[in-house]
Each structure stands twice: as structure tokens, then as C-alpha cells.
Symmetry: C2
Subunit: 378 residues, 2 copies
């Protein structure tokens, strides 16, 4: 019997609790033993909960309980999630998380502590919700040099863009819509300004390259400037606009950005609709592979968290090698030299340019008096 | 240093050799140690090969060499691949394979031997070529009860159907085309009659259910009867026809078939074009996830084989739990009771029926004097 703890009883945390309970047989079959929740940490009271005796407000109850071997951190935010995770790893417990902000910010340090203590720090749920992508990237594609990642990593912005394209809604209306449906938060900045996607592409890039790719240094653009004129222009050019977390790997260097990109209808990513996520990974041997599914939501995300808990139970005595190190030098390629084709929207027509650097793009934009310039995903 | 052997120096085998050589650093990083090919088994002579000293015609060289811990079986066919694999596992070596025929036919026995000897028998490359699907299904979705699998599992038939839809080619012309391009063999029966897809859905179903799903008992229909009239009819109904390996799981029972199915354009599987594969898996927690990529080809398939070799090196002392057992009773659900909607093509028009059993479908077909009836993937 593996005893586990859940930190944070919000949407994902309650999902984790339910899956461990409801899918107990499937979980036990895969873990090799039964799994039981011994603690749930939350600052709030849950007096009506059928297992209210599981709740605690003191993380030390978990840290000091030798019976607990695996902890799910699904609190979100940097603090106190960082301090709690660090203490738990130092106490020799495996921690699994859905907290992309924490993984993108403190992942390198936490992974090093996990390695030192020979425990697991796993984060499948931090990118793509329930879609398996972290493990496939690090294990199934282990024989490939990853050359490129292009992902629709944020469901909220994908929903907004999809509404703009399909129902001709303005950005503002589509955003209100998303908020009404619970897809976007009241303060939607993290989504619509691209920060959420940035954390996720930073995690994927770090995994693919084996060294930390600092999310603070990734040029990040959101979708707030996309207009219905851009939509029309993209449609006329035979494609759609998606917010893409993008990374290219060459000679040990990484080029990465988050930005709206123009995608031709032939590309599989163009068909990722609604709140779904899709991650296209290119390896030098395997070519293109894509992973698709619900990128968020209670049970999808929780199922990825529980899968990591299962893996931690299986690998209790032997760490899984998933992670990255601090780089020795600068990992970023020269962004000023990087070229993309651009979809340029002018007053009466639009054009797709030859590959241009950012400076060349600015010059061309001025020359054509273009209203917008959107990178093309080739 | 991990010493490995490759059995079969055909398309996939030479790809395995090349990847181990060319991507040595990435492989070593992931395996935790360098990997080196010590033997290549093939009945043919390769006197011009730069490492011709690696070649042997006697499997006992590999079986009796204690230094070799992992062997890639990429010979294909049932015999002698079965006998060789069995001997290697019994000798305490891990075996990885791309041989779906062998896994679908003798997998249960070989997995049991691997378990007994505490070694690995891995087969990521047997389904979907380089697309990660076996490992995600068994590990990343470990917290889910899998409810359904629907996959485009055969690139050759997908190419043929895609040509029929996109270029209005007849089945015969599209098949000749596929043969000319090397996508179809001179004797294309295994592909166009659905047997290849059948083996793959049998493997996926066995993994998802945990018990052997016998490929001999899966009703299998190919694409030889699909006409350009069916293509027109499907287009008019807003979708396409794809050869689908299908399985549903309920109450410990499996329903499975291989057949051409009608898929609405909204479904992600409708966008899987050319020789690509796509596998849509539904879990009770995660909902729909899809895996997409090249389902065959030298380097994609070889990259999955090498990833399994890496995993075997990592798990040298501890087996990965991926597999299934012999079932205690009958695992198959009552196929006669299973209902699908059907796209019925009549002389002048077509219709999509209510859900019908096979017997009801036959009756309806007669009543409407329909020319064809194709199951709908809902």
C-alpha cells in the first residue's frame, strides 16, 4: 500500500482525490500496489467532506510522516508551493506537480535536489494538461535529436482565436465569452499575453535540450493585437492564426518565442480547435509527431498528476531520469539573425514575404505600410 | 557501456544501426551510458559494410555472449523471430521489437517469459512506427480506464483512400500508385485486407484491457470494396472514409473490429492524410487524446526501437511493467448486439441511419436497396 498526500484541494486537487478513489483498480494494476490518500493539505475548511479527517493545514504533518512516499503539489503559484516542494524533496519524498509556473521558475533547482535525494520530481501535468507529452518527449523520443517544437499550449487563447475565426467574433467579445464559460479568468493577462504558453514552451525546451531554458528570456507576444482584419487576411491566405509556443534547436543553441503565427490549413496544428491543445514535435529520426487533447480541465489534468504518482510508486527505489541541468554558457541562439516568412496585411491586400529577420520585417512593414505582420509557421 | 545486438539488417535494422551510431550522444544522455552494437544478425552477406566484422549468421553468438544485454528483433515474420526471441529472453536478455505480427501472435507467451526472467520485452515500434503510443497508453494514461481506441493504423491504406478522396483516383489506380512509391508491397493483401491494422488494434486492445485480445477473433474488413461512389457519398455527407482499427472497453469486455468507417470532417482523425497514422484514445478521466505521425519508414520506426533499447538499458535491473496476461474467460463482448450508425449509399441519395446492429443493418440495406453501408465513427 502506497500512502500519498495531495497539497491543494482546488479543481485539480479534488480531481486527483477522486481518480485515486474511483479508478483504484486501474491505478493499483499499474502501480503494482494500492494507492491511498493519507493527507490533503489546504488552508480552507472542508467540514462537509466525507473524509474530512484527511485534511490538514500543516505541511509538517506530511513532511514528518515517513509513511508518505509521494506528494502531489497542485496548489499553483510560486509560494509557498516552492518552499513546500523543496522541504518534501529534502525529506526524501517524491513530488509530482501540475504547477507550470513553479517548474518553469524553480525547476532546475528542484530537479537537482530530487537527483541528490534519489527521489522523483515529475511534472507531466504542467504542459498540455492530460495530454501525454513530457514523458513521450523525454523517453519515447530518446533516440532523436529534437529539432523543433511548435505547440498550441494555451486553451483559453485557442478558444478565443477559434471564436474569432469560426463565429467572426471580435477579440473582446470572444474573451468575454471565454470568461463566461470559465475558460478565462477574470484577470486573463497570463493567458492572453502569452505568459502561460511561455512557461510551457520553456519547460518543453529545457527537456528537449537538457539544459534550463529561462522563460524570462523568451520573447513573448500575446493575442491582444489580433483583429478581425487579421482573421480575414489569414483566411484569404488559406490558413488560420494560432498562438504558438515555438522552439528550434541547433548546435546546442535554442531559439524560442511565443507569438501568434499563421498556419496553413494543411498543417495538423490548424485543426486544433476550441480549448484543445496540440504539440508538434520534430525529431531528426522520427520526423513530425503530434500530441493532441484537452490541455486543461479538472479530470484530464488530474489524470496526468495521478499517472506521475503511479510512476513515482513504481520508481520508488530508482529515480526516473527526466529533467535538465543549469547550462554552462548562454543557450539562446542569436534571435536577431533568425528568419521567418511573414504574413503582411496591407490596406487592400496581403502578402507572404520571403524569410526575413525581425529588423528586415520592420523595414518591409514600413515600406509596404502594412497594418500587421504575423510570422508564418512553415 | 551497454553492448547490444540487432537481428535483421533490413530497412528498420539498418536504421537502428545508424541511429545508435549517429545519435550516440543523445542516446547515451538518455540511457545513462554509451550504447554500442556488438552483433548484427542476418543471413545475407554485407561484405562492403564498414563494420562487416559485426555481422554473424548464428544467433547463438548473441545468445551465448553475456556482454550483450539488449537485442533488437527487427527481422519481421513469425519464424524464426519467435524462436530467437524466446531463446534470448530465456537467456536473460531484454528484447525490443517492431514485429507486430510476432507481438500480436506470441506476445502473451513472450511477455510471460520476460516477466519470469525479470527482463524487458518492449514493442513501441510495433504500432504507429515512430509515434509514441504504447508507452503513453500504458504509463501516461495509467490513471484512466480506457474506454475506446480508434486508430488509423496502416499508412498504405490511408494513402490509397487519401488519393481516392483528393485526386479522385480509383482504388486500383491508387494501389498501383502506392506500389510504385514503395508504400505498398507487391502482394498488398496484409495492408488492403486489414490484417496489418488488425494486429495493431489487437496489441493496443490487449494493453488497454490488460488481457490478451486475440487478433484472430477480431472481425476484419479491408478497403478493397470502397468505390469512388462511396467517396462521393462520404464527401456529400461532410466527411471522409478511413480504415479504422476500433476497440471499445466496457465491464471487462472488449468489442473490436477493423473496417472502413465514415468520419465527419470535425473529427481530428479525418485530417490524417497521406501515409500518416493517427490514434485517438479515450480515457474516462482524460477524454480524447490523439497521437499523430509517420506510422512507418526506416528512421521513424528505428527511432522507436532505439528508444526501447534505451529504456531497457535504464531498466536493466528492474523490468518495466508493460504488457498483458492470458484472460480467464472470454474477453469479447457480444458483437451481434453492438450498434453503429451507418452511412448507406442508395442509387440516388444516401442517408445516415440510427444506431443499428449488424443484422438490423443488413435488413435496412435490403429494404433501401442500398449499394453500401459504412459504419460511422461517432
Amino acid at each position: 500500500m502506497a500512502k500519498v498526500a495531495i497539497m491543494g484541494y482546488g479543481t485539480v486537487g479534488s480531481g486527483v482525490y477522486e481518480i485515486i478513489k474511483d479508478n483504484a483498480c486501474r491505478v493499483a494494476e499499474n502501480a503494482g500496489e494500492m494507492m491511498e490518500t493519507k493527507y490533503i493539505l489546504d488552508i480552507r475548511d472542508f467540514d462537509d467532506h466525507p473524509e474530512k479527517h484527511l485534511f490538514t493545514k500543516d505541511v509538517n504533518d506530511i513532511i514528518n510522516d515517513d509513511e508518505v512516499s509521494v506528494v502531489a503539489e497542485v496548489m499553483g503559484g510560486l509560494h509557498p508551493a516552492y518552499e513546500f516542494t523543496k522541504s518534501l524533496l529534502l525529506a526524501g519524498k517524491s513530488v509530482v506537480t501540475s504547477n507550470k509556473e513553479l517548474v518553469a521558475t524553480y525547476g532546475t533547482e528542484l530537479l537537482a535536489i530530487a537527483e541528490e535525494k534519489n527521489v522523483n520530481y515529475l511534472f507531466e501535468a504542467s504542459v498540455g494538461g492530460g495530454i501525454p507529452v513530457i514523458r513521450p518527449l523525454s523517453r519515447c523520443l530518446a533516440a532523436n535529436n529534437i529539432t523543433r517544437i511548435a505547440g498550441i499550449l494555451n486553451g483559453t487563447t485557442n478558444y478565443i482565436l477559434y471564436q474569432m475565426f469560426t463565429n467572426n467574433k471580435s477579440f473582446e467579445t470572444a474573451l468575454s465569452d471565454a470568461q463566461a464559460k470559465g475558460y478565462a479568468e477574470r484577470n486573463p493577462a497570463a493567458d492572453i499575453e502569452g505568459h502561460d504558453a511561455c512557461r510551457k514552451i520553456a519547460i518543453l525546451s529545457s527537456l528537449a535540450s537538457g539544459v534550463e531554458v529561462d522563460c524570462e528570456k523568451i520573447a513573448t507576444e500575446g493575442i491582444v493585437d489580433i483583429t478581425l482584419d487579421d482573421v480575414k487576411c489569414a483566411e484569404a491566405a488559406g490558413g488560420v492564426i494560432k498562438l504558438i509556443g515555438y522552439a528550434e534547436f541547433e548546435d546546442g543553441k535554442v531559439y524560442s518565442h511565443v507569438a501568434p503565427m499563421f498556419i496553413k490549413n494543411e498543417n495538423m496544428l490548424s485543426g486544433i480547435n476550441d480549448v484543445y491543445n496540440g504539440i508538434l514535435i520534430t525529431g531528426d529520426a522520427v520526423g513530425d509527431v503530434m500530441f493532441y487533447g484537452a490541455g486543461a480541465g479538472k479530470l484530464p489534468t488530474a489524470s496526468a498528476v495521478v499517472a506521475d504518482m503511479v510512476d513515482s510508486v513504481i520508481h520508488a527505489s530508482r529515480r526516473k531520469i527526466i529533467g535538465w541541468k543549469k547550462p554552462e554558457g548562454d543557450v539562446f541562439a542569436d534571435a536577431a539573425a533568425k528568419k521567418f516568412r511573414y504574413l503582411m496585411r496591407c490596406e487592400l491586400n496581403s502578402t507572404i514575404t520571403e524569410p526575413l529577420t525581425m529588423a528586415e520585417c520592420d523595414a518591409m512593414k514600413e515600406k509596404l505600410n502594412a497594418k500587421s505582420a504575423i510570422r508564418v509557421l512553415d
